[in-house]
């Protein structure tokens, strides 16, 4: 657990940007990715929630036409974000096989998702109802399975150390980061492509989340919806996209330098002053996750989930009340973990 881990590449495709630079710039400007959904099915099913945060379709440079047909939308987002992160890390080739700096057997993937290929599954159900079982496509299973995203990324980048898929609801991407961190700390990989992806803005998922009272119903004011940590929060907004990082052991990153577009290691910080409090069980998990990292010395109260769902008032048995040093007035509403701005 003593190996230091650094972030050497970032990638993102989000409702507010096609890449990290655009996403970060829009986040700083306070741009919201939430808008009224114009799909026919909103009216067809008379949905109570009519807003969402859709992401742009990945460019053909990131995901080819043939590739797109074999990937669920969440898989397409995964590959696009991972591609940007890989390029940002400055490796000399398009994948681990063609990059001199890396050994493909020492490159791993940890890519999380909360739901997986729900569009693929429900499209297949529609096809079966309309045309019969014989017309269900053979690629349906690889596209819908939750580990499809990690599999696609590992095949795209010839990463042969492992391909793992944390599935832990909204924390799936964060857990993937943690799993990648541990793979390097434990010496099982030198480079890990970590990330999270989702594409589940479907009438069924909207109806289901709305049924459990989890979604914001600010249909008349979409840009004001999704307000994590705000006292007036009324639920989250269905969004989609992917984020990815390249994690490397510090020694590997130094040995592999210089590269064509070297990136500075990112110092991940948690500088959020939250209005919510962690339960003792949540604090235990957070402290265990940070065990052995320099963060554990500076974080007294890690950020809570930023899903903006309504919760009960803080309980009297909260363990940590100390404010986190350097707390800013606010953080971009689309993220829990502020990171560095992209390199120019």
């Amino acid at each position: 657990m003593s190996r230091k881990v650094v972030v050497t590449g970032l990638g993102a495709i989000t409702p507010i940007g096609e890449n990290v630079q655009e996403t970060w710039a829009n986040a700083l400007k306070g741009v919201s990715g939430v808008h009224a959904l114009e799909n026919d099915w909103v009216e067809q099913y008379d949905l109570a929630v009519r807003i969402g945060a859709t992401a742009p379709t990945p460019s053909e440079e990131a995901v080819s036409r043939v590739q797109a047909k074999r990937l669920d939308p969440s898989g397409q987002f995964s590959v696009a974000a991972a591609r940007e992160a890989w390029n940002d890390a400055g490796f000399s080739g398009d994948n681990a096989d063609t990059s001199d700096e890396v050994d493909p057997t020492r490159v791993g993937v940890a890519f999380g998702t909360g739901i997986g290929g729900v569009w693929t599954l429900l499209d297949a159900w529609d096809t079966m109802q309309a045309k019969g079982a014989r017309r269900v496509k053979p690629m349906t299973v690889p596209m819908l399975m939750p580990n499809g995203n990690a599999s696609s990324v590992s095949m795209e980048f010839k990463a042969r150390a492992c391909a793992i898929t944390p599935v832990s609801a909204c924390a799936s991407g964060t857990e993937a980061f943690y799993q990648g961190l541990n793979l390097i700390r434990e010496g099982k990989a030198d480079v890990v492509i970590v990330g999270g992806a989702e594409s589940a803005i479907h009438p069924v998922t909207i109806a289901a989340f709305n049924s459990m009272q989890a979604l914001s119903r600010r249909n008349d004011d979409p840009q004001a919806a999704s307000r994590p940590f705000d006292i007036d929060r009324d639920g989250f907004v269905m969004g989609e996209g992917a984020g990815a990082c390249i994690l490397e052991s510090e020694e590997h990153a130094k040995l592999a330098a210089p590269r064509s577009t070297p990136s500075s290691p990112v110092r991940v910080s948690a500088r959020t002053r939250t209005t919510s409090r962690l339960r003792p069980s949540e604090m235990r998990v957070a402290r265990r996750a940070l065990c052995g990292s320099p963060w554990s010395r500076v974080i007294s109260s890690p950020p809570t989930s930023s899903t903006s769902t309504r919760t009960r008032p803080p309980r009297p048995w909260v363990t940590s009340r100390r404010p986190v040093p350097c707390a800013p007035r606010s953080v971009p509403r689309w993220t829990t973990w502020p990171s560095r701005p992209p390199s120019p």
């Binding site: 036409r65 043939v66 690629m139």
Partner: protein, 81 residues
């Protein structure tokens, strides 16, 4: 009912959609696996799409016998009859 030439052209379009191979590469004497490098899942996708396009049924046990493009064209031609 499609002619053999039309079946070949239709198959070439399906292969192009599934694999990105140029339609000109799909010739009668080409092997799906050895020449066109088509894996088993792609082959099944091509079969499903061909069934829909030509309104025929290609039984699963018959797929292993479709080694070349010509095998597929002939099977579809006979199945249409």
């Amino acid at each position: 009912m499609a002619s053999k030439d039309e079946i070949l052209a239709g198959l070439a379009e399906i292969v192009n959609e599934e694999t990105g191979l140029e339609t000109e590469a799909v010739q009668l004497d080409k092997s799906f696996t050895d020449d066109l490098d088509i894996d088993s899942i792609s082959m099944m996708t091509i079969v499903v799409n061909a069934e829909e396009k030509f309104d025929v049924t290609i039984p699963d046990e018959e797929v292993k016998n479709l080694k070349t493009v010509e095998d597929a064209v002939n099977f579809i031609d006979n199945a249409q009859a």
